[in-house]
């Protein structure tokens, strides 16, 4: 079943589009991060816009914080609450796997071949995890190349130890896999490509809005408001101590959310008529 699901992914154009957008989006985002932001801060560009410089504040490319940002495999480190292009593409990848069979009737062939529907979902989960892991490694390679280029072509020195880099990138790969599986579970749960896309869009846009609103009302960001998928993915990739939740705890919480949504999708798939 896993081999069949991998073949399905490989033979659908939208899978390749999602992969290309994730890689291209991350490359553009991270290059802008390490080139444009320091240039604005230094006044090399937008020299006549002091307000922009003031809002941006000092940018230290040698700081561990900045270099962790360059290593962010989802390209979402530009500012708190930002949504990276790669994040959208990774969620879309899972969503495509979860909904394509329902859209074109392939789920009937799968159910005829494997009447135990949890086996069908298991095949999709495994295939999505494999492809997302490969994508995550490619994204990590892009991020690492951007960081090393920053060090090679600017006065900045490498502030991170190899173990810190490996840990950050490894956690990034896990976050990519979890977000793809979240997209898959939402897709299988809702079946319709448009409905699932709307829900994912609401999560992408709604999470930062909710956090901003909570922060505005309470003056701080309570822990519960950080136990949301995108925040957990970001915290999972952040430097230890930078986020309210420690990275491994954040990834564990994200795993639990993915597990709950996947379990709901499994129940729905078993109970529904096809």
């Amino acid at each position: 079943m896993i081999r069949a699901e991998l073949m399905k992914m490989r033979t659908v154009g939208s899978t390749w589009v999602a992969l290309a957008v994730a890689l291209g989006g991350l490359l553009i985002t991270q290059i802008l991060l390490v080139t444009v932001l320091p240039a604005i801060a230094a006044g090399s560009i937008l020299a006549n816009e002091p307000a922009a410089r003031a809002e941006l504040g000092p940018v230290d490319t040698s700081s561990t914080g900045f270099q962790y940002g360059a290593l962010d495999v989802l390209g979402a480190s530009g500012s708190s609450g930002s949504i990276g292009i790669a994040t959208i593409a990774v969620l879309a990848l899972g969503l495509i796997v979860g909904t394509t069979d329902f859209r074109h009737g392939g789920i009937l062939g799968a159910a005829l071949a494997r009447p135990a529907r949890t086996v069908i979902l298991g095949g999709k989960v495994a295939a999505t995890a494999i492809v997302a892991a490969v994508l995550g490694v490619a994204l990590a390679a892009v991020s690492l190349a951007v960081l090393l280029s920053l060090v090679a072509f600017s006065p900045a020195e490498l502030a991170l130890q190899p173990a810190e880099i490996a840990s950050s990138l490894g956690r990034g790969v896990i976050a990519v896999v979890l977000l793809a599986l979240l997209g898959l579970a939402v897709g299988v749960l809702l079946r319709g490509q448009i409905a699932a896309s709307i829900v994912v869009a609401v999560v992408l846009v709604g999470e930062p809005i909710l956090q901003g609103f909570v922060q505005l009302v309470t003056g701080s960001l309570p822990v519960w408001a950080q136990i949301l998928p995108l925040s957990l993915a970001r915290a999972g990739m952040a430097a230890p101590g930078d986020a309210a939740l420690e990275p491994l705890l954040a990834l564990a919480a994200l795993t639990a959310i993915v597990g709950i949504v996947t379990a709901a999708a499994a129940v729905a798939l078993r109970r529904r008529d096809l």
Binding site: R3, M7, I107, G109, A116
Partner: protein
């Protein structure tokens, strides 16, 4: 359970309702090995729902449906036992016929080497690497039928398989189904093309508004209609017009 006395397909007292709408009401029939049974009825009569319940795709409110004595979900080798065509085969328009069949073979655990002969038999050898979006309806039906045969099954369940087929395709389907039955296979076939059913089916079951309103051997049923299945069908469904 899988003895020679057990019908290849057995449906008994099937009942299915969606809310207050009864889709299938006490439908019963059997298909023996080596026989072709035509399931006839107007649109919305419950033919497709009955087939989906037989194949475990829709839940059964009441009654039983089995293949070689077992519910579909309990078959040890589902694709090696039953080949099915539903909804024009669930074809992704961006895939080629060859990719589609290879995926079906992988899902069934069948050797991919079986794909090329099936494509050739279905007359798709020359166009197997074109995207399905460029296919005519008849070509899509041929892909769906080839997919149904991937597991070399002994039972076929086909919902409107002749839709869109040109005369050559229709003849190919007829020859294939008769050959399949002659080899001991059992076929359950729903169709609106009554002339085609008359040529290929040994028996028919006519359903209207979810209920069986007539069944038997084609020759017996049409004896009072000059052997014309269409005349028999139209008379029978006109009698049941109130329930349509």
């Amino acid at each position: 359970m899988n003895t020679h006395d057990t019908p290849a397909i057995a449906v008994h007292g099937l009942h299915k309702a969606y809310g207050r709408t009864v889709a299938v009401d006490e439908v019963s029939f059997t298909v023996a090995r080596g026989r072709v049974l035509g399931l006839l009825g107007p649109n919305g009569a419950g033919k497709t729902t009955s087939m989906r319940m037989l194949l475990g795709l829709a839940s059964i409110d009441r009654g039983q449906a089995s293949i070689h004595g077992r519910p579909y979900a309990q078959l040890a080798d589902p694709v090696g036992t039953v080949g099915a065509v539903l909804d024009a085969g669930g074809l992704h328009p961006g895939r080629t016929a060859r990719q589609h069949l290879r995926i079906a073979a992988a899902m069934a655990g069948v050797d991919a080497a079986r794909v090329d002969p099936l494509l050739d038999d279905a007359g798709l050898g020359q166009s197997a690497d074109r995207a399905i979006r460029t296919y005519s309806l008849g070509m899509r039906q041929r892909v769906a039928l080839a997919t149904a045969l991937v597991g070399d099954p002994s039972v076929l369940v086909l919902d409107e398989p002749a839709n869109g087929l040109d005369p050559a395709g229709t003849r190919w389907l007829r020859t294939m189904l008769r050959g399949f039955a002659a080899g001991g296979g059992a076929v359950l076939l729903s169709s609106h093309i009554l002339a085609e059913v008359a040529q290929v089916a040994d028996e028919v079951v006519v359903v209207a508004r979810g209920r069986v309103v007539g069944s038997g051997r084609v020759d017996d049923l049409t004896a009072h209609h000059g052997g014309d299945l269409e005349a028999f069908y139209l008379d029978l469904t006109a009698e049941n017009a109130e329930v349509r």
